[in-house]
Symmetry: C2
Subunit: 219 residues, 2 copies
């Protein structure tokens, strides 16, 4: 059924496809039906050569002398990213962060549907957040069973994150977004991405320090 057998798309390219997608969505609101690699690059914050190389991995969807057809390329990238279907998402941990994530407008709009909120704090069970009822951690399996492979979001303290990850994997979740500041070990067929506030701040601290050193007295 696939249009093209699984080409190999470099990881670095996959990471940028969402940038192009966003840039194209914006461009689609404008009046030009096509866009050049130059302009697409500008909107996505990368350089034009990279755009052309990246898009060439998807196949040839541009026209020489003209540019890329915005709508056509949008469809192509959405298909490539698997955004033509809705993915079920389960959020584990309904603290401050879990709340903020659940209320994030952009799940539904972008093809992700929150099918479950789960927590292990009895006082939170039954509470309704963003229109979804919080259920006990033990019911994780029920929450994601029968759906397409779900995406799990870990928004718990670090201490329980590995346990949660194990449960997610056992429940059949095949991708995990980890907000807990800890290294997770999962089977190799499960994808994990992490978002770690402390790391981001510490890296910025490094450059901040360099900045103030070089900016300071040159004697």
């Amino acid at each position: 059924m696939s249009v093209d057998p699984l080409r190999h798309i470099p990881e670095a390219t996959v990471n940028r496809l969402p940038l192009y997608l966003r840039a194209l969505v914006e461009a689609a609101e404008g009046k030009h039906p096509t866009i050049s690699s130059e302009r697409l690059a500008e909107r996505a914050g990368v350089n034009a050569a990279k755009v052309r190389k990246d898009l060439s991995f998807l196949g040839s969807y541009g026209t020489r002398g003209v540019g890329y057809d915005v709508e056509g390329l949008l469809f192509q990238i959405r298909t490539e990213l698997g955004l033509t279907q809705d993915w079920p998402v389960v959020i584990v941990g309904v603290g401050n962060l879990g709340h903020a994530l659940a209320n994030y407008r952009g799940f539904g709009a972008r093809g992700f549907e929150i099918v479950g909120l789960v927590d292990n704090d009895p006082s939170k069970i039954g509470e309704e957040v963003a229109g979804v009822e919080v259920r006990p951690l033990e019911e994780l399996g029920d929450v994601v069973s029968g759906t397409s492979p779900a995406i799990g979001i870990i928004a718990t303290p670090a201490a329980v994150a590995q346990d949660v990850a194990d449960r997610l994997v056992a429940a059949g979740v095949s991708s995990i977004l980890n907000f807990a500041p800890t290294v997770l070990s999962v089977p190799s067929n499960v994808s994990v991405r992490k978002v770690d506030l402390a790391i981001e701040l510490q890296v910025l601290s490094f450059y901040n320090q360099r900045q103030s050193e070089t900016g300071a007295a040159a004697g």
Copy 2:
């Protein structure tokens, strides 16, 4: 005053120093005063060769046949990352995410101090979040003036993020952590890192799709 003139530390290494820092903090709670690259690698989720190469950029702080002195290396990495001083942080945008960030325990604990919460919604001004009063966007300059170069966190909608970035830069902020789904342009002496939920989900969607394709019928 610097112990060593600015060596060049590769970006990839800088990005991993926080991982080593965390692993070392955990190791320091154990009973071994030293740790091998092998064990440090395991805790940080990388491989041993990388650990040794990375640490070699900081200088020689290991002992052959023994390993690295945990406390010594902790100090060294903290110094390198600029975590021996407190950095002021200002959060712009006090919506769901801003709230969650402000309440994040780990700012103070890790050497970051929230010196300001700022929003442009009049109904939020004066509200107190995590012990800090929300002030109008216009007062951004006052909030960060007189401090060391601050770190700005953008937790606003995408539409106003560039304006906020411009104001942060004008106020003297030298590093920005951007949670808004948009490309920012800033002067080259300002560091920007971004955290983008939609991108993370879309990348996971890509691998999720690959997973279900290859996992499905092989006919």
